[in-house]
């Protein structure tokens, strides 16, 4: 088995499509990290000066509008006898809004927030790239017919299936671990350098999310590999993936389900990585004005069960099919 695994890892390494996809799985997160750090850099004097310039400009426009309102209050929805104070209230409202802090169009790096934003995006990028690796790896064996030659060397189909799946899983786990480690190290290093370190407990959540990300990427890659072995076609497997992604969103929306967000695939992925996906739940109405009273959440446990069922079904069908069906 170790020998076969080594062969399959070499086969993966030699495939150009795999190399390109792995490159993308590194380059895109690097770009996301660069953009996140650029947007999250500390606010400096130039940023604040620009914000103050915009405050002054906005206030000037607002004061012009107040003057127009006083000349013709009816144009502003007020009665003909409106006093100047009413125009001020309509146009400017709360004067405390016109501060430089509200005109800073970006916020400094917040590691806790990035965990549920760009952290999820990086995991999704990795998952897509490595799903394509799994699909193209298996698909090329079927497309070229080389699988039959491999089976003439080792006809134990279960072992061949497992060796290929393990190779895909190992590559996915390794790449996801490296990329996510580098990503969070970059953000963590920058936060420390900029004196923006998050409060206690945030790094624990980040590590948990990163580990969940590695598991998700590995599972997704192996599932797509298994799906391609089942359908014997890269295009077919990717078609099913797209159909399943769209279908899992459309079908719950069309069915008489109270909160379709509860069942769609992206919700499960988000919940699995971040630990919680909140959605508006009409079944809790009347829920009043408090937001928390109107929402329900998908937890990591629910998402794990959902994703695990999908994965186990695909893997079981794939192994059963590969062991029984004729190989062209």
């Amino acid at each position: 088995m170790i020998r076969l695994l080594g062969v399959e890892l070499t086969r993966l390494r030699l495939r150009r499509a795999v190399v390109v996809l792995c490159g993308l799985a590194i380059v895109v997160p690097v770009l996301i990290a660069a953009a996140t750090l650029w947007e999250g850099r500390p606010i400096d004097a130039r940023d604040r000066a620009e914000a103050e310039r915009q405050v002054a400009e906005s206030l000037a426009f607002a004061e012009e509008d107040v003057a127009r309102c006083e000349e013709d209050p009816e144009d502003w929805g007020l009665g003909p006898d409106a006093d100047p104070g009413e125009c001020f209230d309509v146009v400017i409202g709360d004067p405390s809004f016109y501060t430089a802090d509200n005109y800073l169009w970006r916020t400094p790096l917040d590691v806790g927030q990035e965990r549920t934003n760009t952290g999820v995006a990086v995991v999704v990028v990795l998952a897509i790239a490595l799903m394509l690796v799994g699909a193209t790896f298996a698909g090329s064996d079927w497309a070229t017919g080389s699988l039959s030659v491999q089976l003439l060397t080792d006809p134990r189909r279960g072992r061949v299936w497992l060796a290929k799946g393990l190779a895909v899983g190992l590559l996915a786990a390794l790449l996801a671990t490296v990329v996510l480690t580098l990503y969070w190290s970059a953000l963590g290093g920058a936060a420390a350098a900029w004196d923006l370190s998050p409060p206690d407990g945030v790094w624990g959540d980040v590590v948990t999310s990163a580990l969940a990300g590695v598991v998700l990427v590995t599972g997704a890659a192996v599932t797509l590999y298994a799906l391609t072995m089942l359908l014997r076609s890269t295009v077919g497997a990717l078609g099913v993936l797209v159909a399943a992604s769209v279908g899992s969103t459309l079908v719950p929306a069309l069915l008489p389900v109270a909160a379709p967000e509860r069942w769609i695939l992206p919700s499960q992925v988000y919940a699995f990585v971040t630990g919680r996906f909140e959605y508006y739940d009409p079944s809790r109405e009347p829920c009043g004005a408090v937001y928390e009273d109107c929402v329900s959440a998908v937890g990591r446990g629910d998402a794990t069960a959902y994703l695990l069922v999908v994965m186990v079904v695909v893997l079981a069908l794939s192994v059963w099919s590969f062991r029984r069906r004729d190989v062209p």
């Binding site: 076969l4 086969r11 003439l152």
Partner: protein, 325 residues
């Protein structure tokens, strides 16, 4: 040592199609001797490739038993596959890998030393191009690489499905010599081919199948038949025919388009020539009978049926059209 390298009994394979169930192999009883080269002949769609795929575990039999090198397959195929080399239909390798990389991966998967790769490449004359990508190879080179892959294992049984497809005449001769030498060296070789003359040159035994059934099987010599006919040319064919018929032999004018080949290699009819079948009597008896009647033969040539004519006769007899594939 097992008596048969391949043995099938009642082997059947059916496929479900949109038009119903199609039987590709129908109760086939195949025997391939443990040594020598065995030809596997049949028209298109006669089940040859399906049979090979069943033997190699690439397809599942619907019924029947198979043994390869004395072991029941597919149950014990993993135990014997290390001694079986095979090329099924066209060569199939990863197109973006080099020839050597493709063979290296197979050797590693089979737990074989890498020195075998060099040796196999050399055996098929591919050493110089081994570093090129497989997709850049000509069909003939792909076929050679496929044969090299079969030689990695030091096989006791070699299964070659149309091994000379795409090869140039020199390549065909090389492969023929290779197959012959492997057969003489103690390897059992099962060759499926549609080039019947080639099979006849190389094979020591053969099986002929049609519509998934065995039509004939045995040593090539016995398939060709024990009796020999002769072409006789004399100055007076009518008189000669009467004399030969009086001797109790079958005589007919040589047909216009015979499916037989003279021992000299010439084909086609000979004006005024007769074909006589003297049964077990030797050639000199034919000459003696004619000479005693004063009809001295200008030509007395033994005519032996070749595998192609045997094949065509058999397939026609069973109502099977098409070529031999």
């Amino acid at each position: 040592m097992v008596e048969h390298a391949v043995e099938t009994r009642g082997l059947s394979k059916t496929f479900r199609t949109r038009h119903g169930v199609r039987t590709a192999v129908d109760g086939l009883d195949l025997l391939v001797p443990a040594t020598g080269v065995h030809g596997f002949l049949g028209p298109n769609g006669s089940g040859k490739t399906t049979t090979i795929r069943l033997l190699l575990g690439l397809a599942r039999a619907s019924a029947g038993e198979m043994r390869v090198l004395g072991r029941p397959v597919p149950q014990e195929l993993p135990d014997v596959i290390g001694r079986v080399g095979a090329v099924v239909e066209s060569p199939k390798f990863s197109p973006t890998f080099t020839g050597r990389q493709n063979l290296d991966l197979l050797a590693r998967a089979g737990g074989l030393p890498r020195t075998r790769v060099d040796r196999a490449l050399e055996q098929v004359g591919m050493s110089e191009r081994a570093g090129d990508r497989y997709q850049a190879y000509s069909l003939g080179m792909k076929q050679r690489l496929a044969i090299a892959a079969t030689l990695l294992k030091d096989p006791a049984l070699l299964v070659l499905d149309e091994p000379t497809n795409g090869l140039d005449p020199a390549g065909i001769r090389e492969i023929r010599e290779l197959v012959r030498s492997l057969g003489e060296g103690g390897v059992a070789v099962l060759v499926s081919s549609h080039i019947l003359a080639e099979v006849q040159q190389v094979c020591t035994s053969a099986s002929i199948v049609g519509r998934g059934r065995l039509l004939a099987q045995g040593p090539v010599e016995s398939l060709l038949g024990a009796s020999t006919t002769y072409r006789v040319r004399v100055a007076d064919p009518a008189a000669a025919r009467a004399v030969l018929e009086r001797a109790g032999w079958t005589v007919r004018p040589e047909p216009a388009a015979p499916g037989s080949t003279g021992s000299t290699g010439s084909t086609g009819s000979t004006a005024g020539a007769l074909v006589v079948d003297p049964g077990p009597e030797p050639a000199h008896r034919v000459a003696q009978v004619l000479g005693e009647a004063g009809l001295w033969p200008d030509e007395l040539t033994p005519l032996r049926p070749d595998l192609e004519s045997v094949f065509l006769d058999l397939t026609a007899e069973h109502g099977l059209a098409g070529g031999a594939r």
